[in-house]
Symmetry: C2
Subunit: 152 residues, 2 copies
Amino acid sequence: MNVSYINPFIQATLETFKTMLNIEAVPEEPRIKQEPIPTYDVSGVIGLSGDAKGTVAISFPKFMALKVVSALLGVTLKEIDPDLTDGIGEMANIIVGNAKQHLNGFHLSISLPNVIVGRDHTLVPRKDISTLVIPFKTEMGNFSLEVTLKTN
Amino acid sequence: MNVSYINPFIQATLETFKTMLNIEAVPEEPRIKQEPIPTYDVSGVIGLSGDAKGTVAISFPKFMALKVVSALLGVTLKEIDPDLTDGIGEMANIIVGNAKQHLNGFHLSISLPNVIVGRDHTLVPRKDISTLVIPFKTEMGNFSLEVTLKTN
């Protein structure tokens, strides 16, 4: 994987948390996902196609997903409902849309967000393409960003 | 959702099972997914972008995923391992690639397959776009195809 693709996604995540939620997201050391380790409970997943093909996923523990979308919508969500899952999809969409603007010179097309819910569900890494996992810390909790990209 | 988009995916699924595995897949009545009901244990998910944006997911119970990929590779898989998940991703890729050929006149770009593993993981339907679920029966077991598409 061309790591120059990763920074725009990290930057976009920081900016989105700052702009939308007014909180700091602190990235930790990225690592290559070699085993199909489970993600958190709620994931927003976006497919990329064009000059680079792949996937970007943002994954939250349930309690944090509730806090993030509650703050985003200005309401208090207590359970996983359609507002919550649409909100997580929208966060993924904003982050990838923002990152795309930083990836000048690449033609990239993005799919609609998918949202996956399930305790310990796993987004399985491919054998042939590296997935980078970037853990983030925030005052609302910890979450992760996973980027899998195959460049032409 | 424009239902004329759905038939190519059903057709492609039948053809892929016939060509790759030499078995008949029998589609049952499609239904609109209104609640975030869990899928099976292993899902191959592909994002679409271009003239239509959305997602196609093919989801198998674990025992059937093992049979399908074992037949595909000519080996006997007994557990969920990288060969299995890559095989499920490849099945999704073949079906969507085949369907794309039947969707003449539309510019569609497809992402790499994502594979999700987790007992009772749920692909959550969006509030604003319908997801159609098509159950299939085969001699290897039952599986489902989910198509979410937003046409321009």
